[in-house]
């Protein structure tokens, strides 16, 4: 039914297109149109819609009339055909949504009679006033309802995009709550409330999708809703298979919604087919009350020949081989990875035996891995096959693999049930809250920031100060207080509890624990801790990666844990709290901890440190944040590629945060992330170099003073140092690094500011320190974001732009700089670009 409908849709699109391009005087184009209508008539006949058949007959006759020059007004007649096509599209849409066609044909029929003298003898019962035509923009006569084939004609995006966007946002929220609740449901499958809480969001999404004519989404959610309805009416039981199925449906739904969003944002076309047929078949199987035999779903999909097509496409299978495979399947044999590989001749039967034996011995190795390790199959072949499945959402080899260890996953589910339940499934109902567009919110915060600046401008205005009026001073102070309070409140609006992010981890851990065959218990505390809204999204990926690492490399498999005397479930604990102006997030696991020896060895091997370097324990552990570092011996698709931890560090650096890892062998590891409470406003010290003013973050400043001649030292005539109490610290001349000309070149006549960043300290030479100011950090934007010495820009008290210096970047650049001549302007930089006047 599915494919026929899409064929029908294509034909209708084709017809519309033909209609646009037709030349009423050109017999050939008319003939082509007629042919299209006739083809359509055949297919519509198979669907059995009477109205459609009627319309097509009418269209046919009109067209004939035009061809035979029997029609008075050809243009009007073509319009009529256009009307007919629109009606046909409505019918097609309603068929797709499973609803009967409620449109009104009378207008069309009247037109037929008037223009083409066509009277259709079939009496048509007029349905209620048409809803369908009214949904689209009123067709004005010359425009047929044609839409470019790339668009999904069922949903009209030109009308009110806002509706679609809010649908997307809300649906994604619903999906989040579904994911949390379904894991709860897994642990307590009998709980009616939980079933309901999974059922309701599907129902809601279905409703809105239907209203918006989003056919695929509507269809999918409708099926799942039915399934869940059966579950809550106790017609079927909630089984692990059902949970898996719903989660698969959720994944597919997410994809559909994202494609919808892409289509709205960037005009990308929506795929016509998501391959949801397989999923829906599984739903039907479950609904019939049969717990599908572990192998059964696999068989029915094989019957759909999707796998076969893939294998043939990959060139790994010829059509004949495919036939043979399918035949064997019908004999009731089990399709296991091993057998398929043997069939393909990739491994020998003996090799398979051996691999299976190995697998039985070392239970948690995947068959594919064993085959690769014993050299019996190319990892590329296996991983490409595995990847294809993920992409096409086919459950064949992968599913079989997991099912081979089905016992493992079942035990997991049961074990989960025995434990305490996960935190409250339903997210705290936002009883009294409003949804606000984040753009408006950010605008508000920006404006409040500017208000603070404006307010301090007035307060520091010379003329006002000189008034020395008690009342004026009091009132100004009052205003300052209120502005501060306003600022705090506005900043507070940007904060959201981290709970949302933590809860997304629940499903992740569940999926991970199944995939890896390890039992994992996730607990969390401090979910109500608030973090800046802008950070919530950014922190998600690093968290995911670190949890994956924990599960993959940190936690041991159950047998090993038993040997070590640990409880069989690995424990991962997520914790968040505020500490001294920072938000601290901790990820703690009780696995095997980091292997210091291995890390050291790997680091030396990669040339990251010398073999004789002395590093503290902490420093060793933090080596894993360097790029390309991984001590994993094998790469699973989950982690181990060595690209993860350094990306995590970079992301956190970008948020002006810090991350570190600590560990105790066999006891576990703990990763600590520190993020600033707020990104937008910092306390800054304004310094002057020549004509330019720069802002240094107060948090990085240790002290500032004017050095004595005795304090100034040089190394090899090049490196400059200043003695600060007992330490010699390198000197950075800001004018050189930043290209700001100044006449003050003698350190003893200038001011030196001691800056600290990550345990490194330098002296920075400036002309003057002008004062302290709270500044609103403005992003540098795309163009300048790569300038390392700058962290952002801000508007200073006098309206001019001030550059906020990035201390880490400053240090980096000056390190690279040492050795260059200290000649003032950076002509060398200009030349490096090779542009500008030569």
């Amino acid at each position: 039914m599915e494919t026929e409908e899409s064929k029908l849709k294509d034909r209708l699109d084709d017809l519309s297109l033909g209609l646009v391009m037709v030349d009423p005087d050109n017999l050939i184009s008319l003939g082509e149109l007629l042919e299209k209508i006739e083809n359509l008539a055949q297919e519509i006949g198979e669907l059995g819609s009477r109205e459609a058949g009627l319309i097509l007959t009418g269209l046919n006759k009109v067209l004939e009339g035009i061809i035979l020059e029997q029609v008075r007004d050809k243009v009007a007649a073509i319009d009529l055909i256009g009307q007919g096509v629109s009606l046909l599209q409505d019918i097609e849409r309603s068929l797709g949504a499973g609803a009967p066609f409620g449109g009104d044909l009378s207008g069309f029929l009247a037109g037929l009679k008037a223009e083409a003298n066509v009277e259709l003898t079939d009496s048509v019962t007029l349905a209620e006033p048409a809803k369908a035509p009214a949904e689209r923009a009123e067709p004005s006569p010359p425009v047929p309802a044609s839409q470019t084939p790339a668009e999904e004609p069922a949903a009209d995006f030109s009308q009110d995009q806002e509706i679609f966007f809010s649908f997307i946002t809300e649906s994604l929220e619903h999906i989040e709550s579904i994911e949390v609740n379904i894991v709860t449901l897994e642990q307590d499958p009998e709980d009616k409330n939980t079933i309901n809480s999974v059922f309701r969001p599907f129902h809601t999404i279905k409703g809105v999708a239907g209203f918006l004519n989003l056919r695929q989404i509507h269809h999918l959610t409708h099926e799942v809703e039915n399934l869940l309805d059966d579950a809550r009416n106790e017609r079927i039981k909630v089984t692990p298979a059902l949970i898996d199925l719903v989660l698969d449906a959720v994944d597919l739904l997410k994809k559909m919604i994202n494609d919808l969003r892409n289509s709205l944002d960037a005009g990308r076309p929506i795929p016509a087919d998501y391959g949801e047929t397989g999923l829906i078949e599984r739903i039907h199987i479950l609904q019939q009350g049969d717990e599908p035999k572990v192998e059964e779903p696999v068989l029915s999909w094989l019957a759909g020949k999707k796998i076969g097509d893939i294998l043939v496409d990959q060139g790994l299978l010829t059509d004949d081989e495919l036939e043979a495979v399918l035949q064997a399947q019908e004999d009731g044999r089990l399709r296991r990875l091993g057998e398929i590989l043997v069939e393909r001749g990739i491994i020998s039967a003996a090799g398979l035996e051996e691999a299976l034996r190995l697998q039985a011995e070392v239970k948690d190795k995947k068959l594919g891995e064993i085959l690769v390790e014993t050299g019996r199959a190319e990892s590329a072949v296996i991983s490409s096959a595995l990847k294809d499945q993920e992409n096409l959402r086919e459950r064949k080899l992968g599913e079989i693999l997991i099912r081979d260890k089905r016992t493992g996953a079942r035990e997991v589910a049961e074990a989960l049930r025995e434990q305490k339940k996960a935190p409250e499934g339903v997210p705290a109902a936002a009883a009294h809250s409003v949804k606000i567009d984040t753009i408006k919110l950010d605008n508000l915060v920006d404006l409040v920031g500017e208000l603070v600046i404006a307010q301090s401008l007035i307060a520091s205005n010379e003329k006002i100060r000189s008034l020395k009026d008690q009342k004026v001073v009091r009132d100004l102070n009052g205003m300052a207080r209120i502005t501060s309070e306003l600022q705090r409140t506005a900043m507070g609006m940007r904060m959201v509890p981290i709970r949302q992010t933590f809860q997304k981890m629940i499903r992740l851990v569940r999926d991970l624990s199944r995939k890896s065959g390890k039992q994992v218990e996730l607990t969390m505390s401090g979910e109500e801790t608030e973090i800046d809204r802008n950070m919530v999204e950014a922190i998600y990926d690093p968290l995911v990666h670190m949890i994956r690492n924990s599960v993959d490399h940190g936690l041991e498999p159950p047998e090993l844990r038993a040997q070590k005397g640990k409880p069989p479930d690995g424990r991962i604990h997520l914790r968040a709290f505020h500490q001294g102006g920072n938000v601290v997030i901790e990820i703690e696991d009780d696995g095997q901890g980091l292997n210091m020896a291995k890390i050291l060895a790997k680091a030396v091997e990669r040339g990251l440190i010398g073999p004789d370097d002395h590093l503290s324990d902490a420093a060793v552990y933090n080596l894993i944040f360097l790029p390309g570092f991984s001590t994993a011996e094998k790469i699973t698709d989950v982690s181990g590629r060595g690209v993860g931890m350094d990306v995590v560090k970079k992301t956190i650096d970008k948020l002006s945060g810090k991350v570190e890892i600590n560990s105790r062998p066999d006891e576990g590891s703990i990763i600590t992330i520190r993020l600033p409470l707020t990104l937008a406003i910092i306390d800054g010290i304004i310094v002057q170099v020549g004509q330019n003013r720069y802002i240094l973050p107060t948090t990085a400043i240790h002290e500032s003073f004017r050095p004595q001649p005795d304090d100034y030292h040089t190394v090899k005539g090049q490196g400059e140092m200043i003695k600060v109490r007992e330490n010699l610290l390198p000197l950075i001349r800001l004018n050189e690094i930043l290209g700001a000309e100044t006449s003050v070149t003698d350190p003893t006549k200038a001011l030196v500011v001691v800056l600290e960043n990550e345990n490194q300290r330098r002296c920075v030479m400036v002309d003057e320190v002008l004062g302290k100011q709270e500044v609103v950090i403005k992003n540098l934007g795309q163009v300048l974001k790569n300038v390392r010495t700058l962290a952002g820009s801000s508007i200073l008290g006098d309206g001019r732009v001030g550059l906020i210096l990035d201390v880490a970047g400053l240090f980096e650049v000056s390190d690279g700089f040492s050795g260059r001549s200290f000649s003032g302007r950076n002509e060398s930089l200009d030349n490096d670009w090779g542009m500008g006047p030569t």
């Binding site: 700001a740 403005k778 795309q782 163009v783 980096e812 650049v813 490096d832 006047p837």
Partner: protein, 180 residues
């Protein structure tokens, strides 16, 4: 063939000279352009990309950027970068006069719309340029990169170079990492 309404027109645009394809190609470039002067050459920007025009103001220089990135300005609370088109095009530097202006344009970058200012000698006028007056860019060979020129317009005896301002400003040069 006889004319049959608007549909027929677009399909078979006939011009006197019969160079059908080229003409319909450049019909797309037709529209309103803001023209300005740069080193005594005339340029045009699509008016829809122009946000505002402001007089010259203090520009805060930014270190470690190419010479044609003049720096940042405060535009009513928003900080935006400013590029000197003369320097970008390799034209000789000129002192800023009271006629020098900054045109604030909004271009599309990978991350979304971005506002930038460009410094020009003088701003001229908004012109409605018809497709017929626009010719495609002559090919100067490898010497001169001209893919940021939409076309050349001939109006009132002058030649106006129509710029694709997105291309001009989103060159890789602009977003290169600053050197050490």
């Amino acid at each position: 063939m006889t004319d049959q309404g608007t549909a027929a027109d677009t399909r078979s645009a006939k011009t006197e000279t019969g160079r059908k394809d080229e003409r319909t190609g450049l019909l797309e470039r037709e529209g309103k352009y803001l023209t300005f002067e740069l080193a005594r050459e005339n340029y045009g920007l699509e008016i829809l990309k122009v946000r505002e025009i402001i007089g010259m103001m203090d520009i805060t220089a930014v270190p470690q950027t190419p010479a044609f990135v003049k720096g940042l300005i405060n535009l009513r609370g928003k900080v935006i970068p400013v590029v000197d088109l003369r320097l970008k095009f390799g034209l000789p530097v000129k002192e800023y006069t009271e006629r020098t202006a900054i045109i604030v344009v909004e271009i599309r970058m990978a991350s979304g719309p971005v506002q930038m200012g460009i410094v020009v000698d003088t701003v001229s006028e908004v012109m409605n340029i018809v497709g017929q007056d626009i010719e495609s860019t002559p090919n100067f060979g490898a010497r001169l990169k001209t893919d940021y020129i939409l076309g050349m317009a001939k109006v009132k005896g002058r030649v106006i170079i129509l710029l694709d301002i997105d291309r001009v400003l989103t060159d890789e040069e602009l977003t290169l990492v600053s050197g050490a």
